[in-house]
Symmetry: C2
Subunit: 432 residues, 2 copies
């Protein structure tokens, strides 16, 4: 029998234009929200109730770009020039990653994400069967993709592509539909053009969206112009990438023409403000992208360049830095920043049943503990969630109608064991 | 008898150039740290011990600019143009503030600050006796100053100045030395030149430092040039302000000459990155200031323009935004950002016995709970504190050798009552 339960006396961030917050009731049946409103719904006499008093319910946060296993390298090399950081720190360690390492690194990240209110994340990495298995067990929702780098001989390129196709085919729709998949050439500067075309063709064959890094740094844009005579967006357009639903990570360095091109082809952008600042990549033109009608969502990137996976921080950064940099205090208001971390996140991942608190949607939502000094007075809860909150304010989390975090404890994963194993995996990498 | 107690098995952020963290012991006698080192100190046989395992000890954070009572207006007007926000939202409400409102607003802020690891704060506001009384009761350390606005008739100017002098004299050195005072003309654009000169003279008479807002917005710099023919730093120099130890809040818009002038006159700067971004004031030239030898510390500003008082956020913003804006990933490394929030904070407030974990210093320190996913693996704890932590990770807080927060509960203030009264005070302001 489908479980039916009612949250009463809650404050719900519905983010409607005219009314951002509703005080009242939310009904959940199985994996879906079936009612949300000020009045008690009809026909719920027998339903279990949950006391929502003192809690702010938000749609679960959606992290649209990351490499979960990289949390194993958190704090291993900071404040360095990008190429030194990659060449001296990240790549030598990542080359040693086994499936086990990816398992524990991903599990460490999933615990952090769930406990800080993320209910859906995109992951682009390697050893993706391990990632999928952690996702399945943890109860989180995820869009998974084997990111492929094509700077290798053709046979190895083909092997990676076959692996990516097999993974995408095996796992798409699994875990009660919580897992979907994409295809991912790593970036225009790490994949030769003909390889990108093959990956696009595979995405067509599988009917899957595409994800890639683009224009994160000025240097890679300049290289693209040198190597191919055009900037990255035109290059990807020429290779057919935008003929599929696509999501670009970063997109920091864009011209007006590129912004118009992304809007025209309905290409979504994952804005990663924390990572872009920390690696000194620059500040993406988010207000212009939004104005052009591009769907802009938020990602943490890997924990090695962030260094946490707290989406509240990305939401706040998105709301703050574009004001400071453009000089316009109305750039990206609070509600818009929260939509970037929720509704626009779902759109960016081509998921149409999460990211919003509304009847008919999947029951992916979180509850913040409002009985804290930094949430007073009771003025504007959306402002509080965006400008005052941190991941640690998340008290409870539900995904697909199931509670996965209760009173700040993760119910689905063994936190103590995972913290221990993640540390051990890091020590193993150092020792090898 | 002086209480003597020993923390064992702790990790201590000493922030030495060659070694940022020590694992071992810290001895506290009365209100002071008397030992810190890897080896167990001699002569502590009888001392109480405290298990420091799994905790990262940092110097208490120091918030060098704010208006604590303004937390009553948190979320009451966001994402607005500065002048509209001030004229339509802040000023009409602040005009109604009574001493009671200031008491509850300040108490709300002190709870938030203590629980998020701030052990010293500067407060510039009105009804300062109320502020001092909350500070005395709470156990926090504070530098208090009655900020005076001089856009009023001479008699009112004089009344405000007398009030500021009386407050400074009455409270300086009170609460076991936890309270010190300063003199504060609000800003060059809100105080006529002769009034600023009078305040400077009073600071000389009282032998106190000076604090003022300066060059927060481009508009006020332009106005200063129009009205007085010089930019604000030269204007304040001409009025004698820099003849006293001085601290400037914001200092966003500075020329190279002004930076050199602040360095020459040893004027400290309170950088308020969150507030400057939110109000779209711009990004201060912090790397240049530090390179010139200026002491730069961090402040939250009032909660109405931040919107929280979590100094971990300001530390992280200081470490992140200057990298992103200058394109230099080595700008303001993690340890330097943490020093800005601790050691340089103490220097900015002319306090020489707090801000550092070292023998001889006042025992103002905090402990972070390291047993959390976002603090793994055990790579670089300074990086974790700066790039991963939030105020909610603070488990315990001590000021002047006394524990004021224990297991995330404030021991000195009645949190439930203060949350209730702060909400009631806000509702009273709305109704009046």
């Amino acid at each position: 029998m489908t479980r039916k339960w009612l949250i009463k006396d809650g404050t719900f961030a519905v983010l409607h234009q005219e009314q951002t917050v509703i005080r009242g009731y939310m009904l959940i049946e199985g994996d879906r929200i079936t009612y949300i409103g000020q009045e008690r719904p009809e026909g719920v006499e027998g339903a279990e109730t949950f006391d929502g008093k003192g809690l702010l319910f938000l749609p679960g946060l959606i992290n649209t770009h990351g490499h979960a296993a990289m949390s194993l390298l958190r704090g291993y090399g900071d404040d360095m020039v990008l190429q030194e950081w990659l060449q001296q720190k990240m790549w030598p360690m990542e080359a040693k990653f086994t499936g086990e390492d990816v398992r524990w690194g991903t599990a460490l990240s999933v615990i952090e994400m769930l406990k800080s209110g993320t209910t859906t994340f995109l992951d682009m990495y390697d050893h993706m069967d391990q990632v999928a298995s952690v996702v399945e067990q943890s109860g989180i929702r995820a869009v998974l993709t084997r990111g492929v780098i094509g700077l290798c001989p053709p046979e190895e390129q083909q092997r990676k592509l076959d692996e990516a196709v097999l993974f995408a085919r095996n796992w798409h729709g699994k875990a009660n539909g919580r897992i979907t998949t994409m295809m991912s050439p790593h970036a225009p500067y790490t994949c030769p053009p003909d390889y990108i075309e093959k990956i696009v063709q595979a995405a067509h064959d599988l009917d899957l969206p595409l994800h890639t890094h683009m224009s994160e740094t000025l240097a890679e844009v300049e290289q693209n112009v040198r190597d191919y005579g055009v900037r990255p967006a035109q290059h990807l357009l020429n290779l057919g990438l935008f003929s599929r639903p696509s999501l670009l990570a970063h997109a920091v360095h864009l011209t007006d023409e590129e912004i118009a091109m992304l809007a025209e082809h309905r290409v979504a952008v994952s804005h990663n403000p924390g990572s872009n600042l920390k690696l000194a990549s620059g500040v993406a033109r988010v207000p212009e992208l939004l104005r052009a009608g591009v769907t802009v969502s938020l990602g943490t990137d890997g924990a090695a360049s962030n260094n946490n996976l707290d989406m509240f921080e990305e939401i706040r950064l998105a709301a703050l830095i574009h004001k400071g940099v453009t000089g316009d205090p109305t750039a990206i208001p609070a509600a818009e920043a929260l939509r970037m971390g929720t509704e626009y996140g779902a759109k960016s991942l081509f998921l149409d049943e999460t990211g919003v608190l509304a009847a008919g949607m999947k029951a992916d939502f979180i509850a913040l503990n409002l009985k804290q000094a930094h949430f007073l007075p009771k003025t504007d809860y959306i402002s509080h969630a965006v400008y005052s909150a941190a991941g640690q304010d998340v008290e409870h989390v539900w995904v697909d109608g199931k509670q996965v975090v209760k009173s700040r404890e993760c119910l689905t994963l063994d936190e103590e064991k995972i913290l221990f194993e993640a540390q051990r995996a890091f020590e193993g990498l150092l020792a090898r």
